[in-house]
Symmetry: C2
Subunit: 225 residues, 2 copies
DNA sequence: CCAAAAGTGTTAGGAGTACACCCATGG
DNA sequence: CCATGGGTGTACTCCTAACACTTTTGG
């Protein structure tokens, strides 16, 4: 039985929401192939390194971003996806709060910046396909998990939360229905703090309360918007 | 930058429903490591072979089973999961109708047989974990897709369909509510044929009608039992 | 007092769940 | 006529979706 070895990489699709838009973090490649093209942060796994560890390491090395929500996305293994030969990539899906985007271009990448997830530049390899798969996953997960909170600071207003949902789903949500749903889910704790967004009435800050998370998960769907 | 090569395998968790129970297809290993242990069908990918192709090929080689519903499940890459060294496995999830289980032990496996998915024998490697992940995926997909139909012959009775759902979900469903839901979804076409199951009144045969599938997928949840 | 954003309630329709009896058939 | 499995309807509850005005604040 043949046992061909393969090169294995990890690639990370990391999202944030900034200025009411879903954004994805890309790095500009400093070496061939696809030199100067934008790409998902990622790279080769090391020996004796768990896959998830490699994803977090590459993300931090190339962008300076750490402490993110991370989960495996999909494994792409088409024999022609990398001109260098057989390279299989295990892609990961990550989220980071809008207030924790401390970018720093690293050694491997000439540059790192956020791009609109819906309008990225031309991407290296099959990274466009991976990105689209990530957007789809995010939309789906939004409906039955609490991932939306991963994209916000620890303290946030209900309007900010709604904007995150609207940015990801790509459509407007009714303010009253949105708030009633959150009230019903009982996962927000109101704080004794108010902030002024622009020039109007100040909004009350809330924090996410994981207290009820297990119960809600059992019940099934969390956010059926 | 280090570029360690890795061995890449595919493993297939394939389910059927037989005798009102969810069953999984396992093969008995003929070689070390874990010789004589039961394992998921699978093996090393070939050069220039797409991952999905490898999964289908290994499944047929080891069990004789072909023409199945197949989708990628998860990639397991813990450095210690295989005593031979760094082996990453891309696992696949498959379904086959109860009337198409033409098993044939192949070259790699000493034997292949169906086991109850909830009570498998001791498994090689981390295959127990992979199996449990597959069961979870099946339960989840049942609720928002039409995978249930993959487990039935082309023509089936409503009672047979309900038994499939009950076997996977592990609980009884209300007959009237189940039928109303199927009626509402409008994905079944009744045929002018009746079969007798046991000794009672004959049941009408139906077939799955993919006609409405796209519409339903847009609508979101398909089978919220 | 005005502009801007926060906050708040009601109603109607659709889906889910619980529940029990009659029907058709062969032996 | 009886045993066996197939097939049917109703009432209640809960969630969803549509919809507009008042409140608070700073300038």
């Amino acid at each position: 039985m043949p046992r061909p070895q393969a090169l294995v990489t990890v690639d990370v699709v990391i999202f944030t929401v900034r200025e009411d838009a879903l954004q994805v973090l890309l790095v500009q490649r400093g070496a061939a192939p696809f030199k100067d093209r934008w790409a998902l942060p990622g790279g080769f796994i090391r020996e004796d390194e768990p896959l998830e560890h490699a994803a977090l390491r590459e993300l931090e090395e190339e962008t300076g971003v750490r402490d993110v929500y991370l989960e495996q996305l999909y494994t792409f293994g088409d024999p022609t996806r990398d001109p260098r030969g057989r390279v299989i990539t295990v892609s990961y899906f990550a989220l980071i709060a809008s207030d924790r985007q401390t970018l720093a271009a690293g050694t491997d990448a000439a540059a790192a910046r956020w791009w609109p997830a819906g309008a990225p530049p031309p991407l290296a390899f099959d990274h466009r396909e991976i990105l689209e798969y990530g957007v789809e996953r995010l939309r789906n997960k939004l409906e039955y998990t609490t991932v939306g909170f991963q994209l916000l600071p620890a303290r946030f207003t209900l309007t900010q939360l709604q904007r995150v949902y609207e940015a990801i789903l790509g459509r407007a949500l009714d303010k009253r229905n949105f708030r009633r749903k959150m009230e019903l889910l009982d996962i927000l704790t109101p704080l004794d703090e108010w902030v002024r967004e622009g020039t109007g009435r100040p909004a009350q800050l809330h924090r996410f309360s994981a207290r009820q998370f297990a119960r809600l998960k059992d019940k099934g769907i969390l956010f059926p918007f």
